[in-house]
Every structure is written in C-alpha cells, then in structure tokens.
C-alpha cells in the first residue's frame, strides 16, 4: 500500500511539474527561448492567491481566479518589456534577461512579503482525505484535484492548439516565424497569447503546489521551475503531450527515490534519469529530430 501512496503523491507532484512544464514548452516552442522567470511566476501566483484569501478575504477559488488574471497580465508585460526588444538576437541574450527577470521577481517578492515563510491555506481545506483499503491508503484531495487539473488542462490545450484559429496561428509561428508573418498571422499577438496561457497555467500550478506543500517563500518557484524545465526537455521540448509525460515521470521518480533511496540524492537521481533519457533519445521522449539541410 505504501507503494500506491507513493505512486499517487508522485503523480500529484508530477502533475504540478507537468502544468509548469506546459508553460515552458509552449513558450520555448514559439519563441525558442528558455524562460527562466517562469518558475517565479508560480511563486507570484502563490502569493497573489495567498493575499487575496488572507487579507482580502476572498474565497479560495475566487482568489485562484484573481491570481490567474494577475499572472497572465504579468506574463504579457514581461514578454513585452523584457523579451520582445531582444527577439531575434540569439537565445543567450534572452536567457540572461530571463534570469534578470527571475531575480527581479524574487526580490520584489522579498521586498513586499519578506523572507519569512507564509503558511498557505490549502484550496481544498474543507475536504477530507479519502481512505481506502482499510485505512492503509490515504489519498488527499490535493492529489486528486492536481491530477484532474493536469488532465483537463492537457486536453483543453491540445484541443486549443489543434482546433482553434489562434491555436493554429501559434503552431504556425512556432514552425516558422517569418513565413507565418507573410501569411498574415500577427506574430506578436500569438507570442503574447502563448505567454498569457503559460503564465495563467503557472498561477494554477502555484496554487496547486502551495496547497500540497504549504510553505511560501520568495524562492518557492525556483526549484520547481528548474525541475519543470527538466520535465519539458525529458518529454521533448516543444511537445505538449511530452511535457505532461515528462512531468509525470519526473514526479514519480522524485517521490520514489525520496522514499526508497535517499532524500538527499533524490534530485541527483532525477537529473541522472534525464541524462540517461537524452543519451538514448537526444531530443527527449516525444521530441522531433531536426535534420540540418546540407
């Protein structure tokens, strides 16, 4: 039963990674940049939801909605102010700028909310865990909702990208920016939309993560951000189902190595698995192989 409990918490953690990784993967797909500030948007989402429910007194779900809206606006603003001026100048310059944005968000949070950890109230406070198998197996409502949210988001995004006009435009831009522009697609709008969706998802991930691990500090988002990035690469960066699979596998590996091998070495094992996967499949599990034309 211990195994099942671990599996479920692994799936739950993996779902959080997957939701964050979706944002990473979409942004990477469309603008070919590693948005290192993405993890910090999770943190901002967490704080926003915290503020809204604690100080403004909103209902948890309403607070989540507000957090999503604020993060969406934040994401669009960051793209507009920090990344757009550097579009087309090579990925390194944007990467460093993203790191600057990440420092900026962390330090703003530090300035406003201080370094003391905030105890986040779970979104699912009133609900009681499900006990199964004669009390041996406990499933928290956080786990259930996180896993469900992941599945719903994944389905919605896949439909959005394949069926809607805006989604197709996004795909076109990520395939060939210049050609898309010639076909009359508004590239700026598509990129903004991608950042909006990614940041909104980050807010969701932030609230779900803080519900399960309720300590909120300015660097809360940093490590999950890196892990989610790893998950996105694991699944094949640029691929939406890849991000989900990568996130889930990573979450399970992490929980299992914590439980059965060593707490200290859990991160090393996670990263070790990433390296092994990339050795066998250099572009991740579902990544496309790119041929260079000679």
């Amino acid at each position: 039963m211990n195994f099942l409990t671990n599996l479920i918490s692994g799936l739950s953690l993996g779902s959080v990674y997957a939701i964050i990784a979706l944002g990473y993967t979409m942004v990477y797909g469309i603008s070919k940049m590693l948005n290192f500030a993405h993890g910090d948007i999770i943190m901002i989402g967490g704080y926003m939801s915290f503020i809204m429910s604690m100080y403004v007194g909103m209902n948890g779900w309403l607070a989540l909605l507000v957090a999503i809206v604020i993060c969406t606006i934040l994401g669009i603003t960051i793209e507009r102010l920090a990344y757009r001026p550097l579009r087309g100048t090579g990925s390194l310059a944007v990467l460093i700028t993203a790191i600057g944005v990440s420092y900026f968000l962390q330090n703003i949070a530090l300035l406003i909310w201080g370094a003391n950890p905030k105890m986040f109230t779970s979104l699912f406070k009133g609900m009681s865990p499900i006990h199964a198998a004669g009390g041996k197996l406990t499933i928290t409502p956080e786990s259930i909702f996180t896993i469900l949210a992941n599945i719903v988001i994944m389905l919605c995004l896949t439909l959005f990208v394949s069926k809607t006009k805006a989604g197709k435009a996004m795909r076109a831009v990520s395939e060939d920016n210049g050609a898309a522009q010639l076909m009359g697609i508004n590239v700026n709008q598509s990129i903004s939309l991608t950042f909006a969706i990614g940041s909104g998802l980050a807010a969701v991930a932030g609230v779900l993560m803080c519900s399960a691990y309720p300590v909120l500090i300015p660097t809360t988002g940093a490590m999950p951000g890196i892990k989610a990035f790893t998950a996105a690469v694991f699944g094949g960066i640029g691929s939406i189902p890849g991000a989900m699979i990568g996130g889930l596998i990573l979450g399970i590996i992490e929980i299992f190595s914590r439980a059965y091998i060593s707490t200290e070495l859990a991160d090393a094992i996670v990263f070790g698995c990433l390296i092994l996967v990339l050795l066998v499949r250099p572009t991740g599990l579902l990544g496309k192989k790119v041929h260079e034309k000679v």
């Binding site: 460093i96 420092y103 900026f104 790893t230 990339l278």
Partner: protein, 379 residues
C-alpha cells in the same frame, strides 16, 4: 584577378571586417586590465581608499574573473551553452580543501600547498568534465544546456552526502551518505551539507591574481592555436568542419575539459579563501552568475567578461547603501544592460551618440572590436 574584383567591391564594407593583429590586441587589453586592476586595488587597499568590505572581495573578484574566462572557452569559443560551471568549481574547491588539510602538517609552506591543491583540483575537475563531456557532446543547443545544468546539480547534490575527516593518526577518512563517528569537530574536513569547515585561509590576492593570469594565458593561447581554430571552426559551421576532417566531438570535449580544469583551479582558490564553505554556494545561481559575466561581457570577448565579472562582483557591495533594494537594483541593471547591448535599434542609437562624443574617434568607422558583431552577409 581577384584583386580587381575586390577593388570594385566597396572597400569600406571590408574595412569593418578587418581584424589583423586581433589576437595580439585582445591579449594586450586583457593583460593590461589585469595588471592595472592589480596595481589600482593594491594602492587602494594600501592607502585605505578601499574599505575592508571590498578588500574581502579581492580574491572572489579574481576567482570570478578566472571562472568567466574559463567559461568563455565553452560558451564563446566553442559556442555551447553551459549551465553547470559551478559544479566544476565545487569539485575543485572541495578537492583543494581536502588536499590542503591533509598536507597541512607535513608541508608548512603555504604557497607550495596551494599549488599542489590547485593541480589536484584541476585534475579532479578535468576528470569530472571528461566523464560528463563524453555522453553529452552528441547533444545540441538547449539540450546540451539542460544536461550541463543537470550535471551541475548532481555534483552539488553529491557534495551534500560526502564526508571527509582526519582520524587521530592524521589519515584521511571518507564516508558516503552518513556522518563519520568518533571524530572531533576540529578534525572534520567536509561534513555533508555543512560543507568544508576549519580550512586555513591561504588564498591571497596576489595568488588569486596570478591564477587569473594563468587562466587568461591558457585560454588566449588556445584561442590562437590549431586546437582553438578547430574549436571555433566547428562552432561556426559543424558540417564544414567535418568536411575538412575535424573530429567534432574531440574538439568540443577538449574545450569542455580544459574549461572544467580551469574552473576547478578557480574553485580551489575560492575554497582556500573561506574557513567554512557549504555546497549550497555552488548551486545553479552561481553557474548562472558566471554565465551572466560571459554574456554581459560580450560572448567570446574575454576581456569584456573579465570586466563584467569584476564589476558585477563589486556592484552588490557598492549597492550596500541601498540595503533592501540592492538585489532588485542588480536585477534591473542586468535587464537594462542586456537590452541596451543586444537590441539592435538601441545599440545603433548608443553607437551614434558614442561616435559623436568619442574623443579617440577615427576617421573611418572601425567596428571590428565589438564582439557583439553578428550576422553574416545575406547570401
């Protein structure tokens, strides 16, 4: 016949591209910065202009300069993004600490101890670089970046579960994943997450400066050798490199291993500057910090990255008066500088203003020095 054609081509277009004696110029600027910096800082410290706080930053400044130079070998010269440089720094730092502690009793002459530690650190870091490099160099671009990040984290993670101590006979004892029992605190060398403790600080400003000079010497020399040319050729065009018989993996690995060894030496110097040093110091943020030096200095521009390293190490100290706002200011400065140096429109405007106020203005505009110069002619 070609001269005739070339004459007909706009000579001015070619002037901008000329880079004769470029290596000599680059080397002179880089060594000049080092010597001038050393003299200025020593004078400042002697006359008391530079305060105690900043004097404490002298060794880290040199170390970060050396790290920036060594990372430039991978990022600038080899053209691969590495996000795990702090891992090699950690490997070197802890190797150095262990070596100096073991030698402390038998070898009382500190510089000799330091040199042996530096060599050991270079070897261990090079080995780490080799082990990491072999599997990953088949990867490209961002995939290689994420794997270097992963390896950096793995090295740091391992440092968290490594324990070294000296037993009563003065012999080194090692333990993995659990603390060593029966050793006095004073005899602990490396204690898992707490890191190195009880290190005698033998790093000096002069020593650190010499190490930086050595790093500079090696990297500049490689850049201007057949190995460096091969590495840069592969960076510029992998397929053409293969077509003239260059072994791509060999030269990428060479750049990676040499860079790791140099980072290990810098890390060793860093470790000898503090009596206690926790592995958390070598996390992803440190790797990023070194990368920031390289990118801000102009990718591939070695003296640029040295200046960036020095300024960005001093900046947080200088911003101390802003206390709470200092890291925020740092972040804003970073973003603004990146946009100003890389956005083509803003860069052009700054260039135009600069050419008006530049007192050393030449008659023909020569922009060959800027390493930010990108883009080839439209084919």
């Amino acid at each position: 016949m070609a001269e005739r054609i070339l004459k007909s081509v706009s000579v001015r277009a070619l002037k901008g591209a000329k880079r004769g004696g470029q290596y000599r110029k680059e080397a002179m600027i880089a060594y000049g910065i080092l010597i001038a910096g050393y003299i200025l800082l020593q004078l400042g410290a002697a006359t008391g202009i530079i305060g105690r706080n900043l004097q404490g930053q002298f060794v880290p400044i040199c170390v970060y300069m050396a790290l920036a130079i060594s990372l430039n070998l991978v990022v600038g010269i080899s053209g691969e993004l590495s996000l795990g440089h702090a891992g090699f720094m950690a490997a070197g730092a802890f190797t150095g600490v262990v070596v100096t502690r073991v030698l402390e009793k038998s070898l009382s002459f500190a510089p000799a101890r330091l040199i042996i530690a530096l060599i050991a650190a270079a070897l261990v870091a090079a080995l780490a670089g080799f082990i990491i490099g072999i599997p990953i160099l088949g990867l490209r671009g961002d995939y290689l970046a994420i794997v270097t990040l992963a390896f950096g984290e793995i090295i740091r993670n391992f440092m968290n579960v490594i324990y070294f101590g000296l037993n009563e006979k003065g012999h080194l004892v090692f333990s993995f994943n659990h603390a060593i029992d029966g050793i006095e605190d004073a005899n602990r060398v490396i204690t898992g997450p707490i890191g190195a403790t009880g290190t005698t600080q033998i790093a000096t400003f002069t020593g650190a400066m010499l190490l930086t000079a050595f790093t500079l010497f090696v990297v500049l020399n490689i850049k201007n050798s057949k190995q460096g040319r091969a590495i840069m050729a592969i960076r510029d065009n992998r397929i053409a490199g293969e077509s003239i018989g260059l072994d791509v993996k060999k030269y990428k690995l060479m750049a990676f291993v040499v860079s790791a060894a140099l980072a290990g030496m810098a890390g060793c110097m860093f470790g000898q500057n503090y009596s206690t040093l926790a592995p958390v110091k070598f996390n992803f943020n440190t790797s990023v910090l070194i990368l920031v030096f390289v990118v801000l200095g102009g990718i591939g521009n070695i003296w640029g990255s040295m200046i960036a390293a020095a300024l960005l190490t001093i900046l947080p100290e200088a911003l101390r008066q802003f206390s709470d706002y200092r890291m925020l200011t740092y972040a804003v400065v970073l973003i603004v500088v990146m946009i100003c140096t890389y956005n083509p429109a803003i860069k052009a405007r700054i260039g135009a203003v600069w050419s008006k106020i530049n007192p050393f203005r030449k008659r023909s505009k020569d922009n060959s020095g800027s390493s930010g110069k990108k883009g080839k002619e439209a084919a």
